[in-house]
Symmetry: C2
Amino acid sequence: MKSKKMNKIDLKNIRIDDNFWVKRQSLITDVVIPYQEAILDDKVEGVEKSHAFANFRIAAGLEDGEFYGMVFQDSDVAKWLEAAAYSLCIKPDEDLEKRADNIIDIIEKAQQADGYLNTYFTIKEPEKRWTNLHECHELYCAGHMMEAAAAYYEATGKDKLLGVMERMADHIENRFLAEKREGIPGHQEVEIGLMRMYHVTGENKYLKLAQHFIDERGKNPQFFIEETQKRGWKHEIMDPYNMKYNQSFAPVRNQKTAEGHSVRAVYMFTAMADIAGVTGDEELLKACEAIWENCVNKRMYITGGIGSNAEGEAFTIDYDLPNDSVYAETCASVGLIFWAEKMLGITGDGQYADIMERALYNGVLSGMQLDGKRFFYVNPLEVNPGVSGELFGYKHVLPQRPGWYQCACCPPNVARLIASLGTYIWREEEGIIYSDLHIGGTAELENATIRTVSEFPWNGAVSYEIVPKGGKKEFTLAIRIPSYAEGHKLSLNGRDITAQYGVHKGYCFISREWNVPDKLSLTFDMRIRKVHTNTAVRSNIGCAALQRGPIVYCLEGADNGERLQELHILKKGALKAEDYQENLLGGIVPIKAQGSRIYANGELYFEGEFERKEEMLTAIPYYAWGNRGLNQMKVWIHEDGGIL
Amino acid sequence: MKSKKMNKIDLKNIRIDDNFWVKRQSLITDVVIPYQEAILDDKVEGVEKSHAFANFRIAAGLEDGEFYGMVFQDSDVAKWLEAAAYSLCIKPDEDLEKRADNIIDIIEKAQQADGYLNTYFTIKEPEKRWTNLHECHELYCAGHMMEAAAAYYEATGKDKLLGVMERMADHIENRFLAEKREGIPGHQEVEIGLMRMYHVTGENKYLKLAQHFIDERGKNPQFFIEETQKRGWKHEIMDPYNMKYNQSFAPVRNQKTAEGHSVRAVYMFTAMADIAGVTGDEELLKACEAIWENCVNKRMYITGGIGSNAEGEAFTIDYDLPNDSVYAETCASVGLIFWAEKMLGITGDGQYADIMERALYNGVLSGMQLDGKRFFYVNPLEVNPGVSGELFGYKHVLPQRPGWYQCACCPPNVARLIASLGTYIWREEEGIIYSDLHIGGTAELENATIRTVSEFPWNGAVSYEIVPKGGKKEFTLAIRIPSYAEGHKLSLNGRDITAQYGVHKGYCFISREWNVPDKLSLTFDMRIRKVHTNTAVRSNIGCAALQRGPIVYCLEGADNGERLQELHILKKGALKAEDYQENLLGGIVPIKAQGSRIYANGELYFEGEFERKEEMLTAIPYYAWGNRGLNQMKVWIHEDGGIL
């Protein structure tokens, strides 16, 4: 395996302009980022106090006070800065940039003389630095700030934060490599941060340090136990004996299954894939592929949600995918996208783009209310008022999105992903331009400027206007054909070229000399698909889910009345996509499904048959659920065999 | 409504002699009671220490040491003594009686001069007596000891313990009635104990005191909050604001639904019904009937299990009956039987006997391993190895019966119920003999001696030999016809009398002059019934359960291989009761059901259909599950419409 140039497309060169994503990006730039900033600065009343900016001001000596918040409170500032950086790329904003510069100035002042940066330890327990890698997230916070530093440098060309994090990285390198102190992060993330620094600066030492943390993990599965015993104090109630939780049970190259805390896991897999791509490390890639296979084919919800267990926000066992007691943290689906993007970059295999798209349009988007003001941590596939959010085993499954959380990981994760979405649409390498996501807009690439008009995700109709650099140029345009697309047609300047270009690993590779103004158009069928589940999954027996294009659908009480469990899709019934409804749930295509209500309202237990009446079911996109007040919701719908 | 004589049949006058219950009673007398005694005396190695006898010895000043165990540890001794009393009735045992006398001597010595009896407070915090009714179970322990005292007096004629409890009852009466101190028990049970004392002694004051506690409950819903504030300390982590938990949210006469901790609830309902029967209190009976209706028709598992929520071991909301995260504590089903027996006594309505039977043959029996050595607290209707007992939300649902618990309420509850089962078979009042349960044996009743030969629960064939007192006597024999019985036939001395005696409220009343040797025989169909559930219950959609007679069946992996969720019963398929198998699971009639396995083993999510093959399903009685090692189990089986 050859190492691959893994630089992302410069976000500033991609402008999204379509009916679906523009409004969501605007929500992020205009609502979410300012709102989060106000929260981090404790300027929003009636929500959990953040104190995250104040912590930095106190650590910088600019303000008196005590540290407040989670031990990883700094990471909220980092994720906000990273999202702000992307926001500046897609919507320049002098005032925002000035405010970001200000907080970066404060961060610089909060850095210690030896490069160390972490407000919790600096303010509260400086003598305990680096003694509790298991619970205290110093490396995790550093990783997020490295991502922010790289993003902010790319967005603005300003390298102050990058300088701060270079010094912090040197401090870390000194401790863990030069001084050879044993240690791995309790929550992976620094590996991703270091790889971002490596990609931006080209400095090999960051790659080496990322590799070090990846390779160290699981070499000594006892590490966190030994660390706990050595230091003799605990910060939280984290069990060092649970080595699966943070994936330290075995060297990462020997891991075959997706285990433990799902966010920790996918952040680690992302870094593993990134390193494998850069270094050509076959063994590391093989581990990624094996874990990927296990993750997406045995432990993933149809929505791209992962981590089915509330305890430890964790993966459990193969095929254990309960719909109503689910976890499926928004952050985990965000991380699955990070991982998928790296796997796609290395292998060029469209299966990774399929999963990336699945998580993006379903398990991630569901995390955010349509107005951008409320967020889900947990993304259930079934909620039942009176049970969800209330009873034991279901308390974590909120049936409506709450406001700001004390542990505010998910909202900024969604914000940074959607703000940087431009970088997931195109790849360009070795003379090939890849179109990975069918999102409209303009891309300034090395070989060409491409203007895309897309009706995605509602219709399979995308047209590309290709303007080669210099008016004329030979290169390959690889257009992704999603696995669910049927009867796709490609036409070039009005001529059908479908037969000429077959689909290889999910892409049509069109190699030719491109001329101004070449016009390519792609259409494919957006048939409604009725999807079944491997019967090893207990919770979906007898049920089907509806998908159309990348969108997973669900039933909500608001459209279908009470007792959704009584509703059945007719086995051979008609499924119809309605016209696009501009004013419904931010603009959606609802699905009507011929169905039945099979019911019995008498005795609790009885002999004899059910009653049955025809009923038209209305399904809406899963991501849009929970925007119309408290009501029942269900992704997996019972099927009516027709002779019940 | 007229008050009714509610005295139970004397257990010594009933001898059970049939193929089903004799061995179970022997298990109780020969295995369970001696084993529990050894545990209470800390003579069994490798199980949770009990210290319950030692607590009494220490409180009696016979031994040095500290109190150990739950605050209600005394009740284990009481329940054991009660079971031992029943054991002495059904199987006289001088040595057991001597040992019981010994512990009663010690209990007497542990009683304080003012009548107070409770080893926790006597040993540990005598100054805190009666200050924490909410959490500290003094009245609960007293209630159980009153039951033991009454039972032991009835069994042996010895009144030492009865005397102890009369003095304790006087102490309680003095405090709560004479001195008018506000107070209700945190865990109901003293009301039952007082009613037992009333029935045995005929002393009205015990009835009055029981009525007092019943009527006081919920009059001041703030009581436990005020008590907590007043005393300023807490014993456990019990929330005084959760008034539903202990049914103190409203006066009991205003309660319409079964709420809160299910054992507390049914113990209270039992006492309410008992009082209503004795006093003719219509309002109290109406409350019982309303709650009963809610309980059995909206909140009860098909097994007679109640309390679907692990948190608070509690009822939740109507139709919330999850099979795999269920609670359904054995004790709650035992209590449901207590309650049903009282309701049956008052109303004479066979519907109560049906539920009594349902709980007895299913949700209670399932609590005990076939060898009598291990017990379930929680009685799930579905277990899945790898999930049940292991993952969050399912940790309480053990897939195999464990040994002794620290909180050892269920095993002695099963023991005392099965040992006293004789008193549930017959009732006799006002010239009517009721046959409530079809259990074989000999009953010495007021009007007659009846010898019953029964093939129950495996066949609907019962024959009665009636020997009237004095050779000849006019009285009514009321034979229960279970609601599920079909085509029942009654014959008297070989002559079919079915048409002559219709079924009224579940009974055939045969009034005549009986002569020696009259022979009555009852037969009815034990057809296998395929039962469905009201579709308000989400967890059973698309599923059926098999019942035959009173027995609910289940599938186990041991008979049906892996992935029970793939198995379907054919909608119109044959159901066949096998011959009785003496050597299988203690002797059972298995059911064979024509079925199919509908499966898909490929991709996790896919378009297209399932594969399907015919498969014969083997169902076993639910009570016998979990006796063949770790495997999957399922009561509700998917149905195959036939054209899937």
